[in-house]
């Protein structure tokens, strides 16, 4: 493949496609088969991931870029799992109730494996107290002491009132009940005095009564006002009694927990807080003692800790890393990185029509789960979830996880919510995505560069050599084994290698799109099964590839049909001046196909302008316009240099309605223009692809295989004549990986593929007329294409000059005529 390819001579069949020749015995030779096959040609990427995983500095998170199907995710997980195994198991994280501010749950880091034990212990504590505390408060001891307090206070104000009543009686007064309260009434003969009786009394008697009533009223006020004060004192005494009684039960259970967890300072402090709260709120355990047994189970075994009033004493385990079950740091991925799934969320429940929440409804996110290890995320998904990207950056910048919901950010939720303690964050994030995201984020996100310092770029292809082929073979066998496919024989492997080089668009390289290779293998296995074959052979691979193409061939066939029915006008034989077959490629998903397009050129005398009709109607892209301007430059600098450029030319892609871009037709357009200028017809049996520079050199283009096959298929439909073929840039020969139908036709001399290096070579082949070189006198031979072009251009210049002079004379004559008249 690296030998110098002769130009303007049809290529040999063996130059059209990479052929691999492996015997079964050579398959997998010199390949380490001790484990899974290694990733091919991605050493640079693997080292970058390792660097990110091992470095401890800030912001050395990794962005893994490359095309889908190249094994990026698998490689990332393989490396991270290996690195994670060397790291210590992170601690547990729990949220507990905040006993001073319930809206701000407290986060607590615990040694690995402790969270679950503490959670169980606290549940047991609640269950124990739910049984013990009611028993304490139902005891005779408590009841007697409480009754004593209540009697003491009850009797106190009862005694005061009784004394008041006695005093009133002594003053011949009584108390009446009325809707407005007590009324102190004077009495006569034991009965309340009437207004008439009162009016008959002497002034002194009236004064005495009024004085007695007023004094008693004042005293009554005092007695009644003392009642609430006394009630408050009684309540305090009862609360103190309750606390004293509860303390006994609580201390016993808390002390048991301290024996188990007291060596952990955070738990010790927490338990002391719980102790105080339990004593202060012992009535919680009295309010809801079990009313009925739980079915067949005795009441004592019911889970009292599930009751809402006891939730404040429970543990919300956010992260639990039990050393008996896990080892090393976590490697987590989140396939749906919504804001909530990333940083956790605070759930709510409906209670009497209102949304309520508490610390037990805080749920962990991927950042919590990956804390202390690695988090792998797909960048497209992160960017497409509202607030996810900004929140992820914020967490990495602040090195802590703060749970803030989208509702809170948007102020949508006007209900109770929480402000949990942020949890310190120490992890490495690996983003996986396409290159465009890396470039866009680098360009438009100021924080990106400082947060994702490690660039991991996966190769799209690998150079074909013994080592890469060997690894590729191993990979194919590995896929077959992992997918439980039939064994793949040597022929099939060779066919896959050929297809891989076609996928790479390069005969000297192999595509690293493992996903596509896997798809081909799996489909080939299907066809092998259908054929009841024991192995996957090259025929099954071919079938799989062909079938995939057929499935995607509807648009291609539609165009081919339009050409054969002459709806789209394409000639594949004969000669036409100013008309050439160019080639364009269409891509739908992974399927690519080509169609020939007729390019025509018309010329006349003008002022040195080449009109690109595609551009004029805004159907041509910038690259196409660039190509046309280059060919204009070629014309202007190669011909009739001693006269002004007096050409007006138009170039158009006939029957093109969907837009054209790229410069791969610029060589065809230039040849077409030269044909129009020289008047030499172009052989329509050929199609041309390639871009041209201002020196007339033909340059490489993309999609060369599809372009050749596209024209070949049309020629087949319209009838192969043996003289048809495609002119391609010589630089594209190394990219050839043509389908066997084309290779076979070339072998049978029914079709030819001719590499060209210059425009002159192309025009000679297509017109059969020598291009011509300038002789020592500086002119081209008269019977050469270049000579005829130059002659025509000079003719245009002379005609234009004489036209200009004639026009000037006519204007002068007209002016004179006007003056004389």
């Amino acid at each position: 493949m690296t030998d110098k390819v002769p130009t303007a001579i049809p290529l040999q069949p063996e130059q059209l496609c990479s052929r691999f020749d492996l015997e079964d015995g050579n398959l997998g030779k010199n390949i380490d088969r001790s484990g899974p096959s290694k990733l091919i040609g991605q050493d640079r990427a693997i080292e970058a991931i390792q660097l990110s995983a091992r470095m401890s500095g800030n912001g050395f998170n990794a962005f893994v870029m490359g095309k889908p199907g190249h094994g990026r995710h698998q490689a990332v997980f393989d490396v991270l799992n290996e690195e994670a195994a060397k790291l210590p198991l992170p601690g547990d994280w729990v949220y507990t109730h905040n006993f001073t501010d319930s809206g701000k749950p407290v986060a607590m880091e615990l040694p690995a494996g402790t969270a679950i034990k503490l959670k169980s212990a606290m549940e047991l504590l609640v269950d124990d107290l739910a049984n013990d505390i009611p028993a304490i408060f139902e005891s005779d001891d408590y009841q007697n002491r409480r009754r004593a307090i209540e009697q003491e206070f009850g009797e106190k104000h009862e005694k005061e009132f009784a004394e008041l009543m006695n005093e009133a009686q002594e003053k011949r007064l009584t108390l009446l009940r009325s809707p407005m309260g007590f009324i102190v009434a004077a009495t006569i003969d034991g009965k309340p005095i009437t207004p008439e009786q009162f009016g008959e009394l002497s002034e002194q008697e009236k004064t005495d009564i009024e004085k007695a009533v007023e004094e008693t009223q004042k005293k009554l006020e005092r007695v009644l006002q003392n009642v609430p004060k006394s009630e408050k004192k009684r309540r305090l005494n009862v609360e103190k009694l309750n606390a004293d009684m509860a303390k006994g039960g609580v201390d016993e259970t808390i002390d048991q927990l301290l024996k188990e967890f007291g060596h952990i300072a955070k738990i010790k402090n927490y338990l002391e807080t719980v102790r105080l709260d339990l004593i202060e709120n012992a009535e919680l355990f009295l309010e809801a003692s079990p009313k009925a047994s739980a079915g067949a189970f005795p009441v004592a075994t019911t889970k009292r800790y599930l009751e809402p009033q006891f939730q404040r004493y429970l543990i919300n385990t956010m992260i639990s890393n039990d050393p008996d079950e896990k080892a090393g740091a976590p490697v987590i991925t989140e396939n749906l990185p919504t804001l909530g799934n990333l940083v956790g969320r605070i759930e709510h429940m409906s209670e009497k029509g209102t949304l309520v929440t508490n610390f037990s409804m805080i749920k962990p996110g991927a950042l919590h789960k990956a804390n202390g290890g690695y988090l792998v995320l797909d960048v497209r998904q992160v960017l497409s979830e509202p607030f996810a990207w900004e929140t992820l950056k914020s967490c990495l910048q602040n090195k802590q996880i703060s749970i803030i919901s989208a509702h809170q950010r948007l102020n949508y939720l006007s209900t109770t919510t929480l402000e949990p303690d942020p949890i310190p964050l120490n992890l490495r994030v690996v983003l996986v995505g396409e290159r465009k995201f890396y470039y866009l984020l680098s360009a438009y996100d100021a924080d990106f560069a400082s947060l994702f310092k490690i660039q991991v770029d996966f190769n799209d292809e690998v150079t074909t050599n013994d080592e890469s082929v060997g690894m590729y073979v191993a990979k194919i066998q590995d896929i077959a084994a992992s997918e439980q496919l039939r064994s793949v024989d040597a022929g099939a492997i060779c066919r896959i290698l050929s297809e891989s080089s076609r996928l790479a668009d390069d005969a000297e390289k192999l595509s690293l799109d493992v996903g596509q290779i896997r798809d081909i293998l799996m489909e080939a296995d299907y066809w092998a099964a259908a054929a009841k074959a024991k192995h996957i052979t090259d025929q099954h691979i071919e079938k799989a590839i062909t079938e995939a193409e057929i499935r995607a061939s509807r648009p291609r066939e539609h165009i081919q049909e339009a050409i054969t029915r002459e709806t789209l006008l394409i000639d594949t034989e004969g000669g036409v001046v100013g008309q050439i077959n160019a080639l364009s490629v269409h891509q739908i998903a992974k399927s690519r196909f080509s169609r020939p397009s007729r390019v025509t050129a018309r010329v006349r005398m003008g002022k040195g302008k080449v009109v690109d009709i595609e551009r004029e109607v805004e159907l041509g892209g910038p690259l196409h316009s660039k190509g046309v301007l280059i060919l204009s430059g070629y014309l202007a600098t190669h011909f009739a240099l001693d006269v002004p450029m007096s050409l007006w030319a138009s170039i158009v892609f006939e029957q093109s309605y969907g837009g054209v871009d790229g410069d791969s037709a610029s060589a065809a357009e230039l040849i077409c223009l030269l044909s129009a200028l020289s008047g030499c017809p172009i052989d329509q049996s050929y199609s041309v692809t390639g871009s041209v520079n201002q020196h007339g050199q033909i340059q490489a283009i993309g999609g060369v295989n599809e372009k050749i096959e596209g024209f070949f298929d049309i020629c087949v439909k319209k009838g192969l004549t043996g003289s048809q073929g495609v002119l391609i840039p010589i630089a594209n020969v190394k990219h050839l990986a043509l389908r066997s139908r084309v290779v076979d036709a070339v072998e049978q001399k029914k079709f030819s593929i001719i590499p060209i290096e210059t425009i002159d070579q192309g025009i000679e082949i297509l017109t059969g007329v020598p291009a011509g070189e300038r002789n020592p006198s500086g002119s081209y031979p008269d019977n050469s294409i270049n000579g005829m072009v130059e002659h025509r251009l000079r003719e245009f210049a002379i005609n234009l000059e004489s036209f200009s002079k004639g026009l000037a004379k006519r204007i002068e004559a007209d002016t004179e005529k006007g003056r004389s008249s």
Partner: protein, 249 residues
């Protein structure tokens, strides 16, 4: 508790909403177990209305606040308000209990309710708001030693169980005799010897009982129609300052 047929109607009698309200809960409980009818009688005390005309009379609220001088008109308005409140609260208390309730207003005194508003087989509850909510010493059944009424004790036991209050039995004895009528409830004997000055009318002296109740802070009193008549229900309420339940026989 007696069977449903034993009480024709449960009647609440009080001179103000606060007192009636203190009895509504027990009334609904007893009515649910009995006939299902509750009638509240709000008594507009003529004595109070008359007394409101005197210049030095002030009303002192339950909270110990002097609401100033009152008039017969303001008192009448207060009765209107209380009647309205009582209707509202009673209807709310009974709406989910399948109880029939009604309210009526009566002029006179509480004693008059005994005869004017009741019939044989009713259960009459005189309301009285307690001073403070705690430290009550129990349910007191008061009966005459000479004519003990076991059904009073049964009713007392029922209320005692419902309110988790100890049951106390007061046996009113004549001529310093000592008695007991049921072994499971020890009796407190209080003498009601006939007053020497009133031998002609055989008026008995309940001063000892009233002094006793004045200091004991009962939660509820259950007594007979005869005692209620003899002692005067207003006097008894004034001394005990708790609801009094009287089966009408």
């Amino acid at each position: 508790m007696n069977s449903k047929a034993d009480y024709q109607e449960v009647i609440i009698s009080a001179t103000c909403f606060a007192d009636a309200n203190a009895t509504i809960e027990i009334a609904t409980r007893l009515a649910t177990s009995a006939t299902g009818n509750i009638r509240a009688v709000l008594v507009e005390d003529e004595v109070v209305i008359q007394h409101a005309k005197l210049p030095m009379v002030h009303a002192i609220t339950q909270g110990g606040r002097d609401s100033g001088a009152i008039t017969a008109e303001t008192m009448q308005q207060a009765y209107e308000r209380d009647a309205s409140d009582l209707r509202r609260v009673l209807e709310k208390a009974t709406e989910h209990l399948s109880l029939m309730c009604s309210i009526e207003r009566q002029t006179g005194g509480l004693n008059s309710t005994l005869h004017q508003s009741t019939k044989k087989g009713d259960l009459l509850l005189y309301g009285h708001q307690a001073l403070g909510r705690y430290g009550q010493s129990g349910i007191y059944v008061i009966t005459l030693a000479e004519n003990p009424e076991p059904e009073l004790i049964d009713l007392g036991k029922t209320i005692s169980a419902q309110y988790q209050q100890p049951l106390k039995l007061i046996l009113l004895t004549s001529n310093d005799q000592v008695g007991n009528i049921t072994p499971d409830v020890p009796a407190i004997n209080i003498s009601i010897n006939t007053k020497a000055a009133n031998l002609k009318t055989h008026e008995r002296d309940f001063r000892g009982l009233l002094d006793f109740l004045n200091l004991k802070r009962p939660a509820n009193i259950v007594t007979s129609l005869r005692i209620a008549e003899e002692v005067s229900i207003e006097t008894m309420l004034s001394a005990s300052r708790c609801p009094i339940i009287v089966p009408i026989t």
